[in-house]
């Protein structure tokens, strides 16, 4: 059973790995006169624990391949976790059947990254919005459904008279609004947004972010916001979780994180944001490349690129510990007061 607390969504010790060895036949290898079965995995998430509090916007930040999208998709039940638990209001939801999951589908919704792929090209906007409403509210009359559609379309700033059009007639920003409308159509309380603005232009990004903030205020939403863009996080997030190679490095309230980042990776990441004010970038240079998640490094996953790594970092996996200022950091250096 999940421990009781007042979090809306609770993720505990989540692990997710993907097999990359193909079929059973592809896995067989001939070695030293024997046929052995050999399997390789991508370790996308390695022991992530998170709590999403009601009403907050928890941002998960990291570079490509760090597992942040996998976290989002696992929370939404699009992927089954290899190990670990996901609970919604204290009820475990990661092991439910499709049918048992239905009541949660109404409460948890998702906004996707690519506005060009997230709307069905063969459906009109009306059909796209109508289907979820009728599916989850079979007792609603047609007029009620129509009213509901008009309401969500207006709330995302899309003219309801466009309903008969197909998605390809809209620009990227408008499509993302329609995507948001679809998510809002079933009156969810929790929304997972997987890089919702990274495919959009700067001026449109601002529109969509504002829209999401309005929706949060009016509908009392909770967000799990996945992004690679730290400058968006600073603006949008209540708390920030920084991920690297499938593990959580640091989890802190936004202000705290931006004023005093503790983990060396967070520090490097923040210094790399191109800002308007600075004259010349003065960023912390990380040596080397991100290791592949197929063969994870021993100890702290960041030790190969960390300027402060020592012997202990290479051997022992650091655990997320709560500091006095409310920051949670997984770093031996911070723990030992070296940093």
């Amino acid at each position: 059973m999940a421990e009781q607390n007042d979090s809306l969504v609770q993720v505990r010790d989540l692990y997710k790995r993907f097999s990359i060895s193909g079929d059973f036949l592809d896995q067989l290898q001939f070695k030293g006169g024997k046929i052995t079965r050999h399997q390789e995995y991508v370790h996308a998430i390695n022991g992530v624990s998170l709590d999403v509090m009601p009403g907050e916007a928890l941002c998960v930040v990291g570079e490509s391949g760090c597992g942040k999208s996998t976290v989002a998709r696992t929370v939404m039940g699009l992927l089954t976790p290899t190990a670990g638990q996901i609970s919604y209001r204290g009820e475990r939801i990661d092991n439910l059947s499709d049918k048992q999951m239905l009541p949660y589908r109404k409460k948890m919704q998702m906004i996707f990254q690519n506005p060009y792929a997230s709307l069905n090209p063969r459906m009109t906007i009306m059909e796209t919005l109508q289907e979820p409403i009728r599916f989850h509210n079979p007792s609603m009359t047609l007029t009620e459904v129509k009213d509901k559609i008009a309401e969500v379309m207006l709330s995302v700033g899309v003219d309801p008279s466009w309903g008969e059009r197909y998605s390809h007639e809209f620009s990227g920003g408008q499509r993302q609004r329609i995507s948001i409308a679809r998510a809002l159509a079933v009156d969810p309380e929790f929304i997972v947004a997987d890089e919702p603005i990274s495919a959009l232009d700067v001026s449109i990004q601002a529109q969509v972010l504002n829209l999401m903030m309005d929706a949060q205020e009016q509908r009392n939403l909770t967000y799990l916001f996945i992004t690679h863009d730290l400058s968006v996080v600073e603006h949008f997030g209540t708390r920030v979780a920084v991920m690297y190679l499938g593990t959580l490095c640091e989890l802190a309230p936004t202000k705290q994180l931006f004023s005093s980042p503790r983990h060396p990776y967070t520090q490097a990441l923040m210094s790399a944001i191109p800002r308007l004010e600075d004259d010349r970038p003065d960023y912390i240079k990380l040596s080397g490349e991100v290791p592949t998640p197929v063969n994870l490094p021993s100890g702290c996953v960041f030790h190969g690129r960390c300027p402060h790594a020592n012997e202990r970092c290479k051997q022992e996996i650091p655990v997320l510990t709560l500091l006095d200022d409310g920051t949670q950091v997984a770093c031996h250096g911070v723990e030992e007061n070296r940093l």
Binding site: E63, V202, D229, V232, K255, L269, A272, P274, Y283, G288
Partner: protein, 330 residues
């Protein structure tokens, strides 16, 4: 005399629904060793501009008028063979996707040597030596090993470094980089941008950086152009444009950045979207989205007004400058 001079460049795309002008009346200059940023949202025509400088537009696009002067040549009206000797040789191009430049079935070394031999009369051994030197310049770990590797064996950041090395191979005068770091992570992006900046400074190479990222432009370039709907609407020294943008669109773009807003507050958004090229409004193309729109904006296309060291195409700026002048005279 500037290294590159673009005069009244117009690019047309002949589409089924009729000809569409992707670039209108674009003029700018580039000095030797200068770093110029071209900023705009998707559809503003910034990539088309990059391609048309080296006359690399593919059908149905074509340069319909204007010229591009480079060392006494007009690249817009040059025979294909002569163009080829300039392209890659004197002006090289870096794309967003490194795989547009790299051939997946050839080793890095083969590609670099081939590129050198195509433009220079040197031996293979010399070509290899130059290739190795360039790889060292882009700070790739163990460059000797990379020569024998295939592009798919390298990470995205590494590939982009190779592409930069190939771009530098023939010691060009100009590098045109079209969103070179958009596909990369921030930490890698910072490294690559720093590298490009240093290389351009050391080798006195001019850089045309095409990007949508104002942060990158502000850190790398000396001068910048802001494009909107196929036109340049503001140009000037980067610092001046960034710190004191004159055109309402540039201001809006700057203010829309999350870092310009108070955390937790709403962002300052520009309403609406950029019009598609077929439906550019009359007068100033930004007028339907502009907060300060005046009657004249819907009627007449604004011409450039000098404002400090910047040129701005905006009626409002023009008026306020005129008022200033009159005020001074009185």
């Amino acid at each position: 005399m500037p290294l590159l001079e673009v005069n009244n460049l117009e690019v047309c795309f002949g589409l089924r629904s009729g000809a569409v002008k992707a670039l209108r009346n674009v003029s700018f200059t580039l000095e030797r060793g200068e770093r110029l940023g071209i900023v705009g949202e998707s559809g503003a025509g910034k990539s088309v501009l990059g391609f048309s400088i080296i006359n690399l537009l593919s059908r149905p696009g074509r340069i319909s008028s204007g010229n591009v002067h480079f060392e006494g040549y007009d690249l817009a009206h040059l025979a294909p063979e002569e163009l080829r000797s300039i392209r890659g040789n004197r002006i090289s191009m870096i794309f967003q996707d490194p795989m547009m430049t790299l051939n997946p079935v050839l080793t890095i070394g083969t590609q670099m040597v081939e590129c050198l031999l195509a433009h220079r009369k040197i031996s293979v051994v010399d070509a290899k030596r130059i290739a190795l030197k360039k790889l060292q310049q882009v700070q790739i770990p163990s460059p000797e090993k990379r020569l024998d590797q295939y592009p798919h064996e390298l990470s995205g950041g590494m590939r982009q470094r190779i592409v930069i090395a190939i771009g530098l191979l023939l010691d060009p005068d100009i590098i045109i980089a079209d969103e070179p770091t958009t596909a990369l992570d921030v930490t890698i992006q910072a490294e690559i941008m720093d590298l490009m900046l240093n290389l351009c400074e050391q080798n006195n190479v001019a850089l045309i950086l095409i990007t949508h990222d104002l942060g990158v432009v502000s850190q790398v370039t000396q001068r910048m152009l802001v494009m909107y709907a196929g036109r340049i609407i503001e140009q000037g020294p980067t610092k001046e444009v960034i710190n004191d943008a004159q055109h309402p669109y540039t201001q809006g773009l700057m203010n829309a950045l999350p870092q310009m807003a108070i955390p937790g507050q709403k962002l300052n958004q520009i309403k609406g979207t950029m019009p598609p090229l077929q439906r550019i409004p009359k007068g100033c193309s930004f007028n339907p989205r502009c907060e300060y729109v005046m009657d004249i904006c819907e009627q007449k296309l604004p011409s450039f007004t000098e404002s400090g060291n910047c040129q701005v195409a905006c009626h409002m700026v023009a008026e306020s400058k005129q008022d200033e002048l009159l005020g001074n005279e009185v």
